[in-house]
Amino acid sequence: MRFAVISFPGSNCDDDCVRVVREVLGHDAYKVRHDVHDLDRPDVVLVPGGFSFGDYLRCGAIARFSPVMTDVAAFAGRGGPVVGICNGFQILTEAGLLPGALRRNVCLSFICEDRHVAVEGRSTPLTRGLSGEVLRIPIAHNEGNYCADEETLARLEGDGRVVFRYVAPDGRRSPEANPNGAANDIAGICNERGNVVGLMPHPERCAEPLLGNTDGRRLFDALLAAGADGGSR
C-alpha cells in the first residue's frame, strides 16, 4: 500500500511516519510537500505531528491554507482514508475536515508520556477490529484539549464518532486518566463518513519492539487491512 505523508515545513513526525510504514510495515511511504498539488495516488494519507508553521498562532491555523490541503480534502471527499496524528489532528479540525478544536491543555504545560486510550465507537480504517481494546500510546502535545459545542459533542457521541477516549489502564474513565481536559475524555474522533480520523496520541512512536511497546502497530495493521479490503483509489 502507498502512504502519502504530508510534510509542512514544521512537521517533525513526518520522517517517523515514513519510517514506520517502510521499515516496520514494509509498505510504501513518501512525503508530500505542503506547497504542491500532487498526492501521487496514495491509498492512505497521513497528516503527521509537529508544528506545521511554528504554530505560534493556533496550531494548524496556517497549515490549512497550504495548497496540498485542497487535495487532501478532495481525497477525503472521495472516501479515501485520512489520519491526522497530533498536529495532524489539529490541522484537520482547522481545515474543517473534522469538527471542534484543540485548545491548550488545562494544566497549561506540554505533556509527553504514555497514556491509555480505549478504542470505541464506529469502525474506521484505523480502528477496525480493535473496538473495546485499551491501547497504551504516547502523547506529546501542548494543545490536546478537545472542545466543541454541546450540540457537536452530542452528535459525535450519538453517531459513535468518538473513536479514542482517554481511560485508566483498566479501561475505566476517570478525571486522572484525562491528561489535558478534553471534553468527554476525547482523544480521537472521525468524520461522518468515518474515513477521516484525528487523534492526539502518536501510534508511530510505539510500533516496534525496540521502543518497548507495539500497541501503535495494531492501528497501522488495521489501516493495512482496511486498504486490502477497500482496494486502491
Binding site: R103, V106, A148, D149
Partner: protein, 88 residues
C-alpha cells in the same frame, strides 16, 4: 493605515489560562474575581486601503475570519487606527 484585531474566547467557553491567572493574582493578594485572556494583533495594512477606513475595517475583518480567530471558540473585534498611514 494601521489596524487592531482583538480576539477573545466566546462567552461560555472556559478560559483555563484566565482562571489560572485569577488564582495567581489571588495568591499575590489581589482580588480578581474573573480574568479573561485574549490576543491583540496590530497590523500595518497595505497601500490599497490608505485613507480608506471602511475598506481597512473590511480587510481586518477578513483577516480575522480567515486566519486570526477560530470561530469554534473565539470572537473578534476590529478597530482602524488612523496613526502613521502606510504611505504610498
Amino acid at each position: 493605515m494601521k489596524g487592531r484585531i482583538t480576539v477573545q474566547l466566546k462567552a461560555g467557553v472556559l478560559d483555563v489560562e484566565g482562571t489560572a491567572i485569577a488564582r495567581a493574582l489571588g495568591s499575590l493578594g489581589f482580588t480578581a474575581s474573573e480574568v479573561r485572556v485574549g490576543r491583540v494583533f496590530e497590523v500595518e495594512l497595505g497601500p490599497e486601503v490608505a485613507n480608506d477606513p471602511a475598506g481597512a475595517a473590511l480587510v481586518l475583518t477578513d483577516m480575522a475570519r480567515k486566519l486570526l480567530a477560530n470561530p469554534v471558540m473565539e470572537r473578534f473585534e476590529v478597530e482602524v487606527l488612523d496613526g502613521a498611514s502606510g504611505a504610498a
